[in-house]
Symmetry: C2
Subunit: 298 residues, 2 copies
């Protein structure tokens, strides 16, 4: 079995790494938070001293980090992954980062005769815990085939989207649609409630037609119940919208609704909502309207 190195044992990385351990993979792990690392070591993993050492002792190196700067640091930094990455090994970054950064990582790995995949996920903490993550993969077909059995220990809907960066592009598209649909559902339910209708009845009436979406179903219900414990945190979605808008700027594409979503998430963070579920976006429109959707019993 391939020896796996796993760097980044946060809310996502910890359950993902534990699934790999359970499947019998020899695992070498590293996190800046000692306590997170200790738990995975207690379950049978070895501790790596640095990204360099993790890479030097692994056939496959997985990184699961918060954002592009952390990936840049861990991969390109002093005693980083690249300083230890062996020819013939495979570097899989499962963080959600800029597609352009994913391509830089892939290029650097190839320059050392190693392979690389960008493989961001969706499905959140619950998906990580239940090994039901959606995994969107960019990179060479052979590298994807090599990684497939590993992905299958962590996720279910695993799609090879295209070449290096394509996984991050798919994740970016996903986060745009999720954010904009949350905004659309917020505008619709808020206006309906302010106009005097029962927003739960309205949601029921429109759920069977063209307005149907997972967001109307799940986040719409959260809005009606004011169930804003996460779920997917506002601060993470703002980060992902920044990736989309930065990429759009690089490429000269105007994204008016995505920009609105990012602004409202910024406002929500300024109002103390960073740790809430992203469906709490609706509360910023409520604030602007000086009106709150009545809670219902659905």
């Amino acid at each position: 079995m391939e020896r796996i190195g796993f760097i980044g044992l946060g809310i996502m990385g910890k359950p993902m790494s534990l699934h790999l351990l359970s499947a019998g993979y020899p695992l070498c792990v590293l996190d800046v938070v000692q306590s997170a690392q200790d738990q995975v070591i207690a379950a049978g993993a070895r501790a790596g001293a640095s990204p360099q050492e993790v890479a030097a002792q692994s056939d496959v190196v997985i990184t699961m980090l918060p954002d592009s700067p952390e990936v840049e640091q861990v991969v390109f930094g002093k005693a980083g992954v690249l300083t230890g990455l062996r020819a013939g090994s495979l570097l899989i970054d499962m963080s959600t980062i800029l597609p352009s950064m994913a391509r830089r990582v892939a290029q650097a790995a190839r320059a050392q005769a190693a392979d690389a995949l960008d493989a961001p996920v969706s499905g959140g903490q619950v998906g990580a815990q239940n090994a039901t993550l959606s995994i969107m993969v960019g990179g060479a077909p052979a590298a994807f085939a090599r990684a497939q059995p590993i992905f299958e220990k962590m996720g279910k809907n695993i799609v090879h989207v295209g070449e290096a960066g394509a996984g991050q592009i798919a994740k970016m598209a996903n986060q745009i649609i999720v954010g904009v649909t949350i905004l659309g559902v917020s505008e619709a339910l808020l206006l309906a409630a302010k106009a005097g209708a029962d927003p739960a009845k309205v949601r029921e009436a429109i759920s069977g037609g063209f307005a149907q979406s997972r967001i109307l179903e799940l986040h719409g219900q959260r809005m009606l119940q004011r169930a804003f414990q996460p779920g997917f945190k506002v601060k993470l979605h703002r980060k992902d919208m920044a990736i989309a808008l930065n990429t759009a700027k690089e490429l000269g594409v105007a994204l008016p609704a995505s920009a609105n979503v990012a602004e409202l998430l910024n406002a929500l963070i300024a109002n103390g909502g960073a740790e809430l579920d992203h469906s709490a976006l609706v509360t910023m429109l409520e604030k602007l309207a000086n009106f709150q959707i009545p809670t219902t019993s659905i």
Copy 2:
């Protein structure tokens, strides 16, 4: 069986009225376009000379008109429905209009001891032809019960949303979500394509998760195939977005994404797209980006 008057025999009203005829209802019809009226008369309906005469000879009067001004004219105008509406009769407006106008109509009907329902539909021409429309109904429960057998001849998903105006409010919420989701899907697929990924692969990768919607499924495919024959016409969706934004202005609610959708539909009409399917909204973002999503073979 109740005698039904049907005013407005356009792309929607004609097939709807024909279903009522097939079900055996005695029908008196009226349209400003003589040829539309002739076809329904050939199928067994009588012609009414004016809204007044149609109302005077009917137990239930249905109107299916383009917009609020037409409903105002037909209901409140000279020789309008109200001048002929009998006590105990039922006025059902199935047009998509301002909720505030729907309430005015209901109030006027009640002042003449008649009942009224606002019952806008979604599902388009195909839904009207196949009698599979979704019908969102506002008005008194007894009036809804009386109308139910009639609605069942024209639609399938029939929901009593609340009091007068609630049907229009639900329709407004529906059109907001549909428009904003189209914009979100447009932004996502355009950015993905410009970033170098295959947008069809991206759509496939994200369809199973939180980004899932009927719009991603149906309108997303239209965008990838550039299949912009309607469907639901741009000019009609712009009209519906104007209803939502006017209502939002009346009520002091800010709808940033809906405003973007309305602006882009305006631009599309200025560019000759009034008769296209509303998924053609994506072409305005393409114009701004000076880049077109490549057509694919999906």
